[in-house]
Amino acid sequence: MRSDLLEEILRLSADHLLLVVNAMVVAIAIGVPLGIFLTRRPKARPWLLGFANIMQTIPSLALLGFLIPIPFIGGIGKRTAIVALVLYALLPILRNTFVGILGVEAAVCESAVAMGMTDSQLLRQVQLPLAAPTIMAGIRVATVTTIGTATIAAIIGGGGLGVFIFRGVASLDTVQILAGAVPAALIALAADGGLGWVERKLSPV
């Protein structure tokens, strides 16, 4: 293999990872608190879950198209790509946080309240530790999906391994397509394995 191709693979893989890490940090920072909020505010559930569901159904190319003309978050480049990735990653994180907390055994929560725990003590000492593996499973699913989806960032100049794939498709060059697809698949496998390990470690019992 030519050394300049290898060098480009490494550079774009790093670029790709940067996109994914940025998007995941933002998606977790929004999704987990929002999921917690939903467990406390039943009336907001249909609205927020509906929004997150709709985001998932919009085809990725169309979503980028919608975002480009929007001021501040839109335009060409990485920022728009990250916004799109966050919108996709939100649903699994939001839903698993919400389902994980509501899935904590009712008798355990009832005891906690009856013993005089405040809502924040209930959340921090009981619900979040017991829901942690479920929340982590949501983060893992979202991360693996995001690693795949991030390849479309290249279409709006966001970089990443998609650069190879779009170049390869345009020039019918299989080597280029594989240079993008194989590292993306490897990163996804590594992330799945690593986060799966974290998920098992978080299991409280």
């Binding site: 055994e105 008798a107 009832e110 005891s111 309240v113 013993m115 005089g116 017991l130 019992v205």
Partner: protein, 242 residues
């Protein structure tokens, strides 16, 4: 002054009455059993004592103050709570489960350790064997013993029991009932005990309050209860005869 008093308490959910005009006094040191069929409103009444539910009409007074005027956190920490499903925290050791309320109340770890060991001894579980175990490593009966120890942890004046022994096998149930009576002699708490088992009511109660479809049928000590003439009381007493 009664420690806990129901004054004309009614409770309804979406127009459906659960409790109707309940008035009841619970004096310090007694064990009041709330006896009734499923759906008679006994659990609802219990949950009004520690402010998990509030009356639609009337008042529940604890130490002479309506529950609506108590800080719910302070109110609940004055009361131990034991339920059939136990509700131990699966991610806490036995020591941390029992020591929870003391910890919330800011006790030192050494004081918590001493209290946990004392209570484990009292409920017949050697502390060195059980302190560091997790709930999943205990039998059903052991879990409920820990549940009782947890309720006693911060030495609350009032204990609330919601069919605590209902899910246990008959032998274990009897052991835990005996232990309940022994603890009652040692600690002299005021207990409110919900059950549908008339034997258990006669065995454990100093007073029995019979609830029939949300109404108080009558209140009497176990010996007088035997002579009760109401239809619902006779229905329960018939269970003793077989």
């Amino acid at each position: 002054m009664a420690l806990v008093e129901f004054r004309g308490v009614s409770y309804e959910i979406a127009g459906k009455p659960i409790l109707l005009d309940l008035s009841l006094r619970i004096e310090a040191g007694e064990t009041l059993v709330l006896l009734g069929r499923s759906g008679s409103g006994k659990t609802t009444a219990l949950k009004m004592i520690n402010g998990m539910l509030f009356p639609t009409r009337g008042q529940v007074l604890v130490d002479g103050k309506p529950t609506t005027e108590w800080d719910p956190i302070r109110l609940r920490r004055r009361m131990g709570y034991v339920i059939q499903e136990v509700g131990l925290f699966p991610h806490f050791t036995v020591r941390d489960n029992i020591g929870l309320v003391p910890k919330l109340e800011g006790w030192t770890p050494a004081d918590i350790d001493n209290r946990v060991d004392l209570l484990l001894e009292k409920v017949g579980m050697p502390p060195t064997d059980f302190r560091t175990r997790y709930p999943r490593q205990l039998s059903g009966g052991q879990r409920q013993r820990v549940g009782v120890a947890r309720a006693l942890a911060a030495d609350p004046p009032v204990l609330l029991f919601d069919e605590p022994f209902g899910a246990l096998d008959p032998v274990t149930r009897l052991e835990l009932q005996q232990q309940f009576l022994a603890l009652q002699r040692d600690f002299k708490k005021t207990s409110i005990f919900v059950t549908h088992d008339v034997r258990e009511a006669m065995h454990l109660g100093s007073n029995i309050a019979l609830l029939d479809r949300g109404r108080l049928d009558f209140v009497a000590p176990p010996l007088e209860f035997r002579n009760a003439v109401s239809q619902e009381a006779r229905a329960f007493l018939a269970c003793l005869e077989n």
